[in-house]
Symmetry: C2
Subunit: 426 residues, 2 copies
């Protein structure tokens, strides 16, 4: 069986239910009262549209579980609790709120533990089998009452088609729901792996990225699940940057409940290779979606660095380019400013020979060479302008120094980014 | 004699003349023709207002000279030529153009050499005694004809009051002239040290910063001059960031012609200590001016990190905070978003104990505590808003882990930054 993309996100695999509700977590309203911008106030106040703010995912069977976390030294309290809960390699449910990050609060862990207890009691599972996550404003005490009130409707509404309600509940400044799922076969058994992701600002993962929840019905041991996740994260979510700001709450976790009935993966066998590749495929799609929905973004920037001596060099170069504010602003202005690309390569930590570098830019409108052997070319500005008018821009860099390759994803820097982040807390 | 600030910039010290002219270097006009923004086109086209684009500084006596350069692996051709020319520790004149960076061009060094020859011939000095610099667009061939044409009026107009014409000629997106000079005494002799700086975008020095030219009439050996410059650069220009983009053309150079007649400084004696302190004072003022005039900036952010185990830790923490796009946008929005400060400290490379950190914010309107021992406080939003309404904002971080301190300077992230950089090349 050929693998294929399917619908259903976090509910695509067998044995999972999800839901999302509006429980009424609200920002402490401050700056908005000083700001004249009514549209912004309306957009950012979750009560305005009764946006979902509490999500749950439930696996009928206890599932192998693995997660990767932000490498920020400031870690959200939910990450600490989750890490403790899945230390044994298993979990059965996820609870996640938006609006408030429950981070840098004196009572953070206590509140995160309480969220686990509330969910576990209602679902009749062990509180230590709960993955807990929060996203939103840092440094404001999380009110637990709305969650207490919301837990009943949240659990009662769990369903096999609840993925959309769930993904909406974890969104903050995201403008689109980000889901992906694939179906593939392991030793003749049909398996499914799917998930959802939120993340739009404060995005510069260095371990995982904002919040990503994956579910699969494949049978795989906790050790092998952890290994697969750690491997692919480096080539997917860790290659995304929206603004260079690494969140305190980044987490990517995956549950595998074995409902597909495939022979359990316990070593790096052929099935492991297939599973790992499918996991990478899903995370790559989600990574790209995240970059394209970067705060205020109008264009996706996809930078592929090839002919590199090794993967790390390629990744460092690619990330340096997509993270340059100057280059990001140039892409917003549809300006083929190759000097800024070379400049960003030059100040990256990668050991490269600038004199060997070739750069092309491309989109669905065409492809143009802008630099050869480190010297800028006198290219057609007309064609360049046509290429940059599209909303997905490729930057193709060849280091001419080896066989390795990496892709990094980012977005342009726009007025809207500044607007969103000038007044987010309100 | 008490030291004091004086006027005159690069001409404040005895024995120096300067000038700036409009020689007609023009951007290759591209994107502007595609853009409907006429104001922007007019602002960025140097021909529109006949802005000065070529500067020279001349010392009557051959002077000791020292410089520090960008650590970007892509280095502008002028830097390479300058480094060669002052390898012997001496120089007598500076030539600098704006509009075109003469970087990433196949004929860059040849053109930079040509600029030295043109100036040296006209002034009757050795071409190897010329410091050459360029700033502007990367990757466009530098037309030498306008410089050939401009060299006569440039040299003929050199004067002891030419500092203003000179500083205007080196500006690109700068909106104010940045000059500073101090007068002090060395062993009873009155000495003066002054200079000019340009830099507004692509500012994240890691060695020197954009272009800084200093002149002094103090007598100091090339070795001691180099030592003083290398020392203070770490505490001044290298603590500034506007956008995290480290330029390919950053250079800070100083000439010391000995016209003051003080006993020549040849060791780390008391006079050396005074000279070094005055040099730091001038560069600190210029660093602050640069940050405040960051592209599109409406507010200066001055982040002082105290009680650090060492200077480097303090500097890393301070720079991480002033470089955070999210925090910069929050300051633009006058939002006391302490979570973003802690987040930026957390992802910095500094080894700090988050649980010990205290943070205050201040301005001329007052001071407010926003975080104690790593936990956000429930502070008065009214007072915070009042503080953030000012145009110079202090962030005061105590690591409670030692006696060292560092200050980093940055600015807010605004719509205007995006606008300026979305269309700079045109």
């Amino acid at each position: 069986m050929e693998d294929k993309f399917v619908e259903g996100g976090v509910c695509a695999a067998r044995g999972y239910k999800a839901n999302g509700v509006h429980c009424g977590l609200a920002h402490k309203v401050i700056a908005a009262s000083n700001s004249g911008d009514e549209t912004l106030k309306a957009n950012l106040n979750p009560n305005a549209g009764k946006k979902n703010d509490l999500a749950a995912v439930f696996s009928e069977k206890r599932a192998a579980a693995a997660a990767v976390y932000t490498s920020n030294k400031v870690k959200g309290a939910p990450l600490i609790v989750t890490k403790r809960n899945i230390a044994d390699g298993y979990a059965q449910a996820i609870i996640c709120n938006s609006v408030n990050a429950n981070t840098c609060n004196a009572d953070g862990e206590e509140k995160a533990e309480k969220m686990c207890v509330l969910l576990a009691d209602k679902l009749g599972i062990d509180k230590n089998d709960v993955i807990v996550a929060s996203t939103g404003v840092i440094g404001q005490v999380l009110p637990i009452e709305p969650i207490e009130k919301g837990i009943a409707p949240l659990c009662e509404g769990l369903s096999e088609t609840g993925n959309t309600e769930a993904v909406r509940a974890i969104m903050t400044t995201d403008t689109v729901e980000k889901e992906c799922a694939v179906r593939f076969s392991l030793s003749g058994k049909e398996c499914t792996l799917g998930g959802m992701l939120k993340g739009s600002g404060m995005i510069c993962p260095n371990m995982a990225t904002n919040l990503t929840f994956l579910t699969t019905d494949a049978d795989i041991s906790p050790d092998m699940l952890r290994k697969a996740l750690s491997d692919v994260i480096q080539r997917t979510l860790n290659c995304v940057s929206v603004d260079g700001d690494m969140s305190t709450n980044d987490m990517c976790c995956v549950m595998a409940n074995g409902a597909a009935g495939n022979p359990r993966i316990e070593s790096e066998n052929e099935d492991y290779g297939i599973f790992r590749a499918e996991l990478e495929k899903v995370l790559r799609v989600l990574a790209r979606k995240m970059a394209k929905d970067g705060e205020g973004a109008t264009k996706l920037i996809e930078c592929t660095v090839s002919s590199a001596p090794d993967f790390d060099t390629a990744k460092i170069v690619g990330k340096s380019v997509i993270m340059s504010n100057l280059f990001k602003a140039a892409i917003f202005g549809e300006d083929a400013n190759v000097g800024r690309i070379l400049c960003a390569i030059g100040y990256s930590a990668a050991d490269v020979d600038i004199g060997k570098i070739d750069v092309d830019m491309a989109s669905e409108a065409g492809r143009i060479s802008v630099c050869r052997q480190g010297a800028c070319l006198d290219f057609s500005e007309e064609l360049a302008a046509k290429i940059l008018r599209c909303d997905e821009i490729q930057v193709l860099i060849s280091l001419n120094a080896g066989d390795s390759e990496a892709t990094a994803w980012g977005c342009d820097l726009t007025y809207e980014y500044v607007k969103i982040n000038g007044d987010y807390r309100s």
